[in-house]
Symmetry: C2
Amino acid sequence: MTTVREMGEIGLIDQLARMVAEARLQSPDVPGFRLRLGIGDDAAAWDIGAGVMVSTTDTMVEGVHFIPATTPWSDAGWKVMAANLSDLAAMGAAPLCAMVTLGLPSQLALSAVEELYEGMLEACTRYRLLLVGGDIVDTPHFFVTVALSGACAEVPLTRASARPGDALAVTGPLGGSAGGLRLLESGAELGSEWAQALMRAHRRPTPRVEEGQRLLHAGVRCAMDVSDGLVTDLTKMCRASGVGARLDAVRVPVDPALARTASGDALQLALNGGEEYELLFAGTSALIERMVTELGRGAVVGEVTASNPGRVSVVDGEGQELSLSAGGWEHLRR
Amino acid sequence: MTTVREMGEIGLIDQLARMVAEARLQSPDVPGFRLRLGIGDDAAAWDIGAGVMVSTTDTMVEGVHFIPATTPWSDAGWKVMAANLSDLAAMGAAPLCAMVTLGLPSQLALSAVEELYEGMLEACTRYRLLLVGGDIVDTPHFFVTVALSGACAEVPLTRASARPGDALAVTGPLGGSAGGLRLLESGAELGSEWAQALMRAHRRPTPRVEEGQRLLHAGVRCAMDVSDGLVTDLTKMCRASGVGARLDAVRVPVDPALARTASGDALQLALNGGEEYELLFAGTSALIERMVTELGRGAVVGEVTASNPGRVSVVDGEGQELSLSAGGWEHLRR
């Protein structure tokens, strides 16, 4: 096994630059944008047109955000890119390019770094963005940080623009990633089709990049991604917008493979499971219902309220409030 | 002592966002650039004009790149920002904004993070750039990653554009940072004026941001920063440009405080000491000599050659080649 130390920093950079070159990434299809200088100089440089530039960064730490036992290296690479892409999607921005910082313990296998890059480059190819440089540092503990830039032609989607009376919707079913993680940790049989689907949802989450741009283009103003769980993220949206919200539990779409596990807590995973990247968005009822239809996925899940700013109430089909207890979401005790 | 864990992620983000707000950073003076959304949404967003965007990233890991015993937290904050700014300076770009990723062990003192931010914000104020967001992750080992964006109106400076016959110059004296580190590690008396100057050179290196922009504006095409030591970095420039170089040891400006230590290896530290951010630049002899005069600092240090591509020869005042041995730079044995 070749280790990172044996390879040396310069050898490693050469190897990764070669992988990037071989991936033949296509330039983003954003007018006015053209890469001028990629990997190899003091910094990367690209020609840009006038508009709105969007920047985000996200990190995965081994042992904290993933363990190789449940998330192979190539999936970790996909996921760190997906987490960043999802933040751009939540702004309605088109991805432009990524810079990658690797913190590598010297005894790490070179193959782990190569597989990580394969996963990242797969995401770059799928979502058409360039990998333009970064930094490699020696560290006792593995981490990877991606800084991603994107662009949009107009005012981006924000989480601070929900208004009382707005309808709330999500771009797709929830709970799959959390269900997949539970399955992987349980050591259960993974052969069934639904088990495979849950594992995929956990290991290869789909950032809603096209959907975010379509929402912005159609006139939606308020969105964020559901990376920490629907209730938690909706609460953040409410705080940022100075509003409250009612979430209709029965309308929240549950990942179909998760529903198949019939474990009784599918709703809880859909409401609270994180690490999946559907978008939560708000706007006038007519606009939001039209967008759910046009996107062909997702559902209206609730309403923005003027009362109880910063608070989300979860209600059942009869409008009775539910609360989260050890047994999941249950009716409030009277 | 309050730890990072006691503060919690949300409390910590609030505290750091407050520090950023209180620093009242001024928007960069770059036409067409205006911050639209800073800390608090899925991503940061800013209005941009057409031009060339430049991006870089740099990381400091505790125990690898610094130890708090020789580099207080606020100086670590300054240095990680300075390392990034120096990469922009080497492109001739004006700084725009920074995103900061913190990898924090849960038992780290909150005061350490605050001091780190003070140092970073000091650099943001001095070089007029905005801190627009980032990420905080739980990690067993402290690191800080900064991703910095800048802009220039024209083709940036590159390390790949040196030509045979070009004169080589640096923007200022070298060796101070390495001298300061040696002094700090030696436990020597630090009261003297020169000891203070060397410590400052190590702890508060000056990125040559204005100088880089002036070089580009004056028509210089080739530059890089001297972050790994003059001979090492000049070798990189030669490889990127497909040329060789002759470095005149007697013309290399040695940090005056380092020269005062009279330790005999001042020249070696000036030729090989890293972590300082003067710029190395190349161009026609007339242009380079004019720029050294106009900048009022630095010196011509050598010449680019067609022979020996990728190789740097260090020569004494009589043109005799020197080589690096255990005793420093000495004449080649015959």
